[in-house]
Symmetry: C2
DNA sequence: TTGGCAAACTAACACTATTAGTTTTAAAAT
DNA sequence: ATTTTAAAACTAATAGTGTTAGTTTGCCAA
């Protein structure tokens, strides 16, 4: 009963499909095997363990996210690029909830492998901020600030922490948040140039 | 073998102790029972299920967090209050990693009970921002912005997403993030007042 | 002293991941 | 064409989650 033509890649794609469909960041091996028409332990002929599969999905998610961001900011600079980036970031996170949740649950502080995979994700923001003529050090700082705003917003919206006054005008809040970032950055730039 | 004097409260405290010690947001019923000197199913004489226990711990965590924030901002206003709040928020989250992780993993969008428990947590920020003379609507927006920055920062630091250039100067980044919020807010206030 | 009830227990089930050992089958080697 | 071999499926079993059902224990109050 060998060889149904199953490959690691087909397993990965099935897992991704589930995550994209359900919005959950994980899939059990049982459910995954069921969808592939095999028994659970047979998966171990193709993958080492769940952690490895998670890494594969993680890599896929990162690549998709990065490609999305690059497409969204291509040809744009400064504030326009920041706004487009923020828009793309939010759209991706809400439209690919499962993948985004996975991205934001995998790398733990001491997992060098996951951190390395995530590097391209950091570079997208750094690229954008390099238009402003900030020092290397300041780019590192402001990259964190922008990332904090975007993730903090999405994460808490997802958790239900932004329900105050109903779910009042989340898009207006997002707009204000980005404008806040830009105003803060402009204030910093004025100080530095002077 | 009835009556070891075990109560729901003692179970809660043991669970909290574990979470505070380990930094993990959860404890297995097996481990919890082991620490209490009973067998796992005996826990069900005191709690309905894990979810209920989570709620209890959640309530405890919220109360502790809120008390901490109120103490830190007492007597302070405007920028001073914001800075003190941000400081306290960060300290709590890093020194009570397990409880903070729990707070930021429990309420899912459709869990009204958890959302209700979390209300005091939202009010602390709203109190602070009400010093600025913003409209109700703007307070709701800016409260989200501040919360987004704080949580986004801590969450990603915890996940290892801020390791860029080593773990360069995280405290400087935090300072810049808060200053960014204040500058953004001041810009908004100038616009409004005209 | 004797019920009765709260609170412990044991035994079992369902669902997770995982390992060991076995069989099947497709493709490569004779 | 047949044999061999190795990948890829399988079954059976273990350990760790939470949980339920049914049983025993022991304290306290009638």
């Amino acid at each position: 009963m060998a060889a149904k033509g199953l490959t690691k890649d087909k397993i990965l794609m099935q897992a991704v499909a589930y995550i994209e469909d359900t919005g959950q960041p994980t899939i059990s091996l049982h459910e995954l095997a069921r969808r592939l028409g095999i028994k659970t332990p047979s998966l171990y002929n193709h993958i080492a363990n769940t952690k490895e599969l998670q890494y594969e999905i993680f890599r896929y998610a990162i690549e998709k996210f990065v490609a999305n961001q690059q497409a969204a900011t291509k040809g744009k600079t400064k504030d326009d690029a920041v706004k487009a980036f923020a828009e793309a970031y939010y759209s991706f996170a809400t439209q690919n909830k499962g993948l985004y949740r996975l991205i934001m649950s995998i790398p733990s502080e001491h997992d060098e492998r996951a951190k390395e995979m995530a590097v391209p994700l950091l570079n997208t923001v750094i690229d954008i901020l390099s238009d402003y003529g900030l020092s290397e050090e300041n780019i590192a700082h402001w990259q964190r600030v922008l990332r904090a705003i975007l993730h903090g917003f999405i994460s808490q919206e997802d958790l239900g922490y932004f329900y105050y006054y109903g779910s009042m005008d989340l898009s207006k809040s997002r707009e204000i948040a980005i404008q806040c970032f830009l105003d803060g950055l402009h204030t910093e730039l004025k100080k530095t140039i002077h």
